[in-house]
């Protein structure tokens, strides 16, 4: 069956070795397309080892309508190294193009050339990558730019957009780098324009952002950083770990420009400890890590819960357990985020589902940490942290600069009580420097004064206080804790999802709807406290409930069926790669048929 390609939805895959400039080519491509006003989602895969070779793939999906995930099939594959690209020829859809080196320098062994693998339904474009590069620049190094020029010519894309990005990308290098790369681009552009086209492929008109808005491209981690900056982050403490490291690195560059402070600590225990220490002084403080670091932080998060100290922890998940799959994506740290640590230690856990959500969630996490005096864990994953999307940042900073209930709110008689009972269970919080607010915060169970107390009625009351106060987070202003998409009212199949996988879930839902299945999907952004009411009423509408997750145990499925006592159908994958839309769709179909039968 020929998959009909829409000209306004085209996915490029550039494949080569690390030394070929594969990732750089993908980067220029996505930036140029975003600059033209297209919507872009992009995700790179590179080898775990640091070295000059190893397979790199840069996938860039360019659309005019909003897209929510990458596609399983690419429309155009660009090979910078056949040995790496050959296994991926199969991912090119029918009538999709494969662009490859037409005159390889070495004689290829039988089957070593990509042309032997291109199917009759795919469109082969041989391009003299090396020769064009050498002619334009006296070196073969610009092959990655040559393929971009060719693409621009072939698909009739404004070349100036590329030239601008090339100039920007090599700004810090000698001027000759920009000139020679631009020359390579231009030469290949002419070739692409004049080549005999095997299809009518051209991109539709881009959709520009509304007047006064500028779309920019960001990764999930980039959006987290931006959210932190807009929320007025004061201090950040971190210890490098994939895939969270870029949060530390970018904040290290950005925060000091705005009066903030970043410290690389000796380990994650130290990072969360310092974050809690800073939070105690009233600062907005955060740290970022991955699963192994979160495991180390668990005890200190408990102190944050017990002492009611605000802090924000960004956790970008990777494959686990233990060191696991450091460069692969997974969603298997939900359990530790929600439950990790000693005792009854509920905290707020949020999981954005896309790059725009990363920005909002980051900023709101600081509001919530302050307002409810608690640690807030923001769960990301490698796929979300590293993927690029075009987003339109809000014109006005959407985050409240302070939500602290300070010493001013203290209305008590006599000595100040840090943990005073109040209607909303949140007590006025004095911080060092406040006259008359002196107290000691402790991880021991304590009285309203903060004095250690293990009396039974006190521990009962204080446990209730720490849990009850969090319920208000379910109605935190201007924040989507969960949201339903798709068909309204009763549906055959409902899908519950969280984190990055929700993009694939949405795409699968649209496909199922197109196939005539009544279907809707709900994203759960707040995972603790759980929006039980909303989830229950969603489930009431669903014939069957599917929970696709990138973990083996079904951690959200367990959370929901545990808390609500309702059965769900699980779909669990731990391949290290994002879930495939088709896999979800197949499950939706199966459930819909089972219901019909």
């Amino acid at each position: 069956m020929a998959e009909q390609r829409e000209s306004t939805d085209i996915q490029f895959a550039v494949i080569g070795s690390a030394g070929d400039g594969t990732i750089a080519a993908g980067d220029i491509l996505k930036r140029a397309m975003a600059g033209l006003g297209y919507k872009v989602i992009a995700f790179d895969i590179y080898p775990a080892e640091i070295r000059g070779f190893g397979k790199c793939i840069s996938r860039v999906r360019v659309t005019t309508e909003q897209a929510y995930s990458l596609k399983r099939h690419s429309d155009v594959l660009v090979s910078l190294d056949d040995s790496y690209a050959i296994p991926h020829v199969g991912e090119v859809c029918d009538f999709g193009a494969v662009i490859y080196e037409a005159s390889p320098i070495a004689r290829q062994p039988e089957g070593g050339h990509i042309t032997a693998h291109i199917r009759p339904t795919q469109l082969p474009y041989g391009l003299n990558q090396r020769e064009i590069s050498e002619r334009a620049t006296n070196a073969a190094r610009s092959r990655n730019i040559v393929v971009l020029g060719y693409l621009a010519g072939l698909y009739d894309i404004d070349p100036q957009a590329f030239r601008d990005v090339i100039a920007d990308k090599f700004r810090s290098k000698a001027a000759i780098v920009t000139t020679s790369n631009t020359a390579a681009f231009d030469a290949a552009y002419e070739v692409g324009k004049t080549v005999f086209k095997l299809d009518q492929g051209s991109l539709g008109e881009p959709v520009h952002a509304r007047e006064g808005e500028t779309a920019t491209m960001m990764t999930g981690n980039g959006a987290i950083v931006r959210g932190c900056m807009d929320a007025g982050l004061d201090t950040f403490f971190g210890y490098p770990i994939t895939p969270a490291t870029t949060i530390l690195e970018r904040l290290a560059a950005e925060l000091p420009k705005h009066g903030g402070r970043v410290l690389q600590t000796e380990d994650e225990i130290s990072a969360i400890s310092a974050t809690i220490g800073a939070g105690y002084t009233g600062a907005r403080a955060a740290t970022a890590t991955s699963g192994p670091g979160l495991a180390l932080m668990a005890e200190m998060l408990g102190l944050g819960v017990m002492g009611e100290i605000p802090s924000v922890v960004f956790v970008s998940q990777r494959g686990g357990p233990s060191t696991g799959l450091p460069t692969k994506t997974e969603q298997s740290d939900l359990n530790i985020a929600v439950f990790g640590g000693a005792g009854d230690a509920q905290r707020i856990v949020l999981a954005p589902t896309n790059v725009d959500g990363c920005y909002r969630t980051a900023g709101k996490a600081f509001e919530m940490a302050e307002k409810y005096q608690t640690p807030v864990v923001v769960l990301l994953d490698l796929y979300l942290s590293n993927r690029y999307e075009t987003v339109v940042p809000p014109a006005k900073n959407p985050f409240a600069p302070s939500m602290n209930k300070g010493l001013d709110a203290w209305r008590g008689e006599g000595a100040y009580q840090r943990y005073q009972k109040t209607d909303d269970h949140v007590s006025p919080r004095a911080v060092p420097g406040d006259e008359g607010g002196m107290h000691t915060v402790t991880g021991l169970e304590h009285s309203e004064f903060g004095k250690p107390s293990d009396l039974p009625e006190n521990h009962m009351a204080m446990s209730a206080k720490r849990h009850e106060k969090l319920k208000a987070a379910l109605t935190h202003p201007d924040f989507t804790i969960c949201k339903r998409f798709g068909d309204e009212g009763p549906v055959d199949v409902g899908i519950l999802g969280w984190g990055s996988t929700f993009g694939e879930i949405l795409e699968a839902m649209f496909a199922a709807q197109a196939a005539g299945i009544r279907c809707s999907a709900m994203k759960v952004v707040m995972l603790s406290p759980l929006p039980e009411q909303q989830i229950v009423s969603f489930m009431d509408d669903c014939g069957a409930v599917l929970v696709p997750e990138l973990n083996y145990e079904g951690q959200l499925a367990n959370l929901i069926s545990g808390a609500l006592g309702r059965p769900v159908t699980r779909l669990n994958r731990v391949t290290g790669a994002p879930m495939q839309v088709e896999e979800i769709l197949a499950e939706i179909r199966r459930l819909a048929q089972a219901k019909a039968a």
């Binding site: 000091p256 130290s270 400890s273 420097g433």
Partner: protein
């Protein structure tokens, strides 16, 4: 025992204590320590030191870990943060990084410091974060009832080492000196006036200061670090000791049989806060100020 040569009359003592103002630093909670515990002298010493340095109650933060020693913040009327076992220093670092204006004092026992928290000490020292760290060394785990600690003598018999401990004790002063700590001193709970003086100096030092306090646990150590043993073992640093000489300080620190009291080492160098000022200057392109010159030294 020079301090006790004159008889002390309660009335006079009370008048004197009320008059000098240091009582305001003590909270209404009476220490829960065993009578005779060395920690009482430290509480008195810190109150006296803060009073002498005129640190406002609201601007002082005492951070501790877990242990008998770490109960300390509850007995002071400043801001306090009683954290987790071993995490005193990173929490204190976070407090100071977030608010430079605060006087931050970190306290804990020898187990809190050199067992579970040992990994944090070198980093606080090399960063030169402007806080004071006081370790109350009783050579035993007090709170958990008498097990061996990293500073216990070899062959120590405790409930967890009923057939004698095998491990050799650490030498905390030597460690701190080699970690690059900018201020290293030692005091003894049995000499409270000297202790108070040392606390004043440690707090006044600009940068990371480490004060090691020998402090008997009267309940769980009846044989080793007792007052009677320490009274005869401790000595003063030689009058010609040069606190600018790190190697000489190490030589003194190596003589563990006769622990020396006093200032082992002191140097001033840019603090972590200075470092942040430099970073801010570079990030914003504004002049770096005077901290650069200090770094050259």
């Amino acid at each position: 025992m020079t301090e006790l040569l004159k008889p002390v009359y309660l009335e006079d003592k009370l008048k004197q204590v009320r008059g000098d103002g240091h009582l305001q630093y003590r909270s209404r909670s009476l220490p829960t320590w065993c009578p005779g515990c060395g920690y009482f002298s430290v509480a008195e010493g810190v109150a006296a030191a803060l009073n002498r340095l005129e640190v406002a109650l609201k601007d002082a933060v005492i951070v501790s870990g877990i242990g008998c020693a770490s109960r300390f913040p509850f007995f002071m009327d400043t801001y306090g943060l009683h954290t987790l076992h071993g995490r005193t220093l990173p929490v204190a670092t976070g407090v100071k990084v977030a608010n430079e204006k605060l006087t931050v004092i970190a306290v804990g026992g020898d187990g809190d410091a050199f067992a579970i928290g040992g990994g944090h000490i070198p980093h606080a020292a090399r960063r030169n974060v402007d806080i004071t760290y006081m370790v109350f060394d009783n050579g035993v785990y007090g709170l958990t009832k008498g097990q061996t600690s990293p500073t216990s003598v070899q062959g120590f018999v405790t409930p967890s080492t009923p057939y004698e401990s095998h491990d050799q004790p650490l030498n905390p002063l030597m460690m701190l000196l080699s970690y690059g700590a900018g201020w290293v001193g030692q005091a003894y709970a049995g000499r409270p006036h000297h202790l108070a003086d040392m606390i004043v100096e440690a707090i006044a030092h600009r940068g990371f200061s480490y004060l090691h306090i020998l402090s008997p646990c009267v309940t769980f150590d009846k044989t080793e670090m007792t007052y009677s043993n320490l009274d005869v073992r401790v000595r003063d640093l030689p009058p010609d000791h040069d606190p600018a000489d790190r190697m000489a300080a190490m030589e003194q620190a190596a003589r563990t049989a006769a622990p020396a009291l006093g200032l082992f080492f002191s140097e001033t160098r840019p603090t972590l806060g200075d470092g942040f000022a430099d970073v801010a200057a570079r990030a914003t392109g504004r002049p770096a100020g005077k901290t650069k010159a200090a770094r050259k030294k």
